[in-house]
């Protein structure tokens, strides 16, 4: 697939997110840039504290960004934007949260949880229209319409995550940020939720930004993956290329940590541990280079030399 004819839906340019006071800031996201094409699933992988969730939250403007910008269909959506724009973005970009046990309002009925967004953005809907939308959203995620009158505690983890997905869908989004949507679920339920997300993508032409720490899930669902460490993207590539030639030591460490469902290979496997001290960037500064088509990696001259040699093998 050539990239030239693919449409860029979302573009993150030089994003910086700082937390803490101005005197003692903590940089969670450090000059991150990437594009997400329309219709693809873009994965963001890293361990806890890498800033992957913060990027997702900054895109839908839960966390303010301190530098850079976010473009949606070529228009800036970060910082100060007009009220119409704000409403449009709220509708077009939705989020699915990690823990279905914590992300649903326990005191509200499913009906209200799912349609809360509509109350805010589409106030002109009649009660009957709203009901119908809720029913359709519930059916789309494989739940029964009569569940609308129940409370979240009556549902299992997998069902609750479906409610979370229905809540995002009802807005008719184009772009969904899924923040570890399956890591809190049982393995057998994971498969169901992943299949549901894949089906919805096909039916509704959705674009996903998929945030996770587990590369094994990523391989299955994403088209491209960015690996992020301490707020910096260290490698970005088409999924299969990343698995075929992982170059950056951090990516390799993440890959080697995937548990294999195969006792012999698992016992033979060598666990690689990433030590950030292995880079010597004092003199030779790292660059962001397209080392093979559609495969970017961060490294200094010596490292890139090494990566090229590996690729040639």
């Amino acid at each position: 697939m050539g990239n030239e004819n693919r449409e860029v839906l979302l573009s993150v340019r030089d994003m910086v997110v700082d937390f803490g006071s101005r005197r003692d800031p903590f940089r969670a996201v450090d000059h991150v840039s990437f594009d997400v094409y329309k219709g693809e699933t873009f994965g963001l992988v890293g361990e806890s504290g890498s800033g992957k969730t913060t990027i997702g939250r900054a895109i839908i403007r839960i966390n303010p960004i301190s530098g850079g910008e976010v473009l949606y269909r070529g228009e800036r959506i970060s910082g100060k934007i007009s009220r119409e724009k704000d409403r449009e973005v709220t509708r077009k970009i939705q989020m699915i949260f990690q823990d279905p046990m914590a992300s649903l309002n326990e005191r509200a009925k499913v009906d209200y949880i799912i349609s809360e967004g509509l109350y805010n953005v589409q106030k002109d809907l009649t009660e009957a229209q709203r009901r119908e939308r809720v029913e359709r959203a519930l059916t789309a995620v494989g739940l029964l319409p009569e569940f609308a009158s129940r409370f979240p505690h009556e549902f299992s983890g997998g069902q609750r995550q479906r409610i979370g997905i229905a809540r995002a869908l009802i807005m008719g989004p184009e772009f969904i940020i899924a923040d570890e949507p399956i890591s809190a679920l049982d393995v057998s339920i994971r498969a169901q939720v992943l299949n549901l997300l894949a089906r919805l993508q096909k039916e509704r032409d959705l674009t996903y930004l998929f945030v996770a720490h587990d590369l094994s899930v990523m391989r299955f669902i994403t088209d491209r993956i960015a690996v992020i460490h301490k707020g910096v993207i260290v490698e970005l590539s088409e999924t299969e290329k990343l698995f075929a030639h992982p170059l950056h030591p951090y990516t390799r460490a993440l890959l080697s940590a995937i548990p294999l469902p195969d006792p012999i290979r698992e016992r033979e496997k060598k666990l690689e541990v990433y030590d950030p001290g292995c880079h010597d960037y004092t003199v030779d500064k790292p660059e962001w280079v397209e080392i093979e088509p559609e495969h970017f990696v961060r490294g200094n001259r010596a490292e890139l030399e090494e990566y090229r040699r590996k690729l040639a093998e």
């Binding site: 498969a191 548990p259 006792p263």
Partner: protein, 354 residues
């Protein structure tokens, strides 16, 4: 290999026909339905199953940690010549808990006391069981901390749990569990709440501690993927029963029960991109009502008629491998496992030669 050592080792804990029932608002739920299991000295057993399959309840009975409304309705748990199932008082349990059998819980964020320093929480167990005080206690605590790979134990022991990362906290929980050198260590989903990279490190740590202190370990998990590396034997639980048990190789390479097939198939590691991941249809049975026949039958695409009528007995596949499914009956039709299970099997045959 691993198998030989497993079968030759003496039995350390023996469960006989265990039944556990819970009373919920006047209704009775059968959480464990007649499980028998021998745990061998020095082995590492993994118990795998979905949420609600009873895997946690099963191991909680070994420590007398059932909830108030639960009770052992039948069967025995034999340990060291005592029947743990017959224990009545807390005093009896205190001689077992921590000292003989210890447990690592799932979520390190909630299993530590946020108001006490890490050092005092580890010291508490040692003081109670070994009666150490003062500087002897302090030295022991430091030893425990460095045992589980926490750097700079001298200053770390004075810190509170919130000053530790998730992985480090789980190390502390493990330090508490092994502080009194138990014989059996039960790890209830020890890595589910952790990152993949940390998960691998914690599993490594548990493996090393097992070797160092000659522990017998039980891993409880819902993820078959993580146990390939750590388990000698695997027991697959469904609806309060062990449906298949065998050595690690046997369960991964030649699984016999359709539920084991389903669990393996739903792993994303084995999925093929662009195709639907295999997912188990339907929901686990309602354990408030009596289960008739094979509990997995309603969700099993290969179910036979008899599966709905009579509960299958264990069929022996090898001396170490047995499964509770009518498919193994000589009269049953030949049913091929799903495709990627067969691929895994081929891989196993090639490398394992069986």
């Amino acid at each position: 290999m691993a198998e030989a050592t497993v079968t030759a080792a003496p039995v350390i804990l023996s469960v006989r026909d265990l039944d556990v029932k819970f009373n919920l608002r006047g209704r009775v739920l059968s959480a464990i339905r007649g499980i028998s299991l021998d745990l061998y000295q020095g082995e590492s057993l993994a118990i795998v199953g979905e949420s609600g399959s009873g895997k946690s309840v099963f191991t909680k009975t070994f420590m007398g940690l059932l909830d108030q409304n639960g009770e052992i309705a039948g069967g025995q748990i034999l340990y060291n010549g005592q029947d743990l199932a017959a224990f009545k008082t807390e005093k009896q349990w205190r001689a077992i808990r921590g000292k003989e059998i210890a447990m690592v819980l799932q979520d390190p964020m909630t299993s530590l006391n946020p108001l006490k320093t890490v050092g005092s929480q580890i010291g508490e167990a040692i003081a109670i069981h070994q009666g150490l005080r003062g500087s002897a206690l302090r030295d022991k605590v430091l030893e425990c901390l460095s045992d589980v790979g926490i750097p700079d134990p001298e200053s770390r022991r004075k810190q509170y749990p919130h000053e530790f990362s998730g992985g480090m906290r789980q190390r502390v929980v493990i330090a508490i569990a092994v502080a009194c050198r138990p014989k059996i260590l039960i790890c209830d989903e020890p890595t589910t709440a952790l990152d993949v990279t940390i998960q691998a490190q914690i599993l490594d740590l548990l493996k090393n501690l097992k070797k160092k202190y000659d522990l017998t370990t039980i891993y409880i998990t819902h993820d078959l993927g993580v146990v390939a590396n750590v388990a000698d034997r695997i027991a697959v639980m469904y609806a309060g029963d062990i449906v298949e048990i065998g050595s690690c190789e046997e369960v991964f390479y030649t699984p016999k029960h359709p539920y084991t097939w389903a669990l393996l198939s739903s792993l994303p590691q084995l999925g093929i991109k662009g195709q639907e991941l295999y997912s188990i249809q339907g929901a686990p049975p309602n354990l408030f009502t009596e289960v008739k026949g094979d509990a997995f039958a309603p969700r099993n695409p290969h179910a036979l008629k008899i599966d709905f009528v009579e509960r299958p007995p264990y069929f022996e596949v090898s001396p170490t491998h047995k499964a509770r499914t009518w498919l193994l009956d000589p009269r049953a039709p030949q049913v091929e496992p799903p495709e990627h299970i067969r691929d895994l099997q081929k891989e196993g045959v090639r490398r394992y030669g069986k």
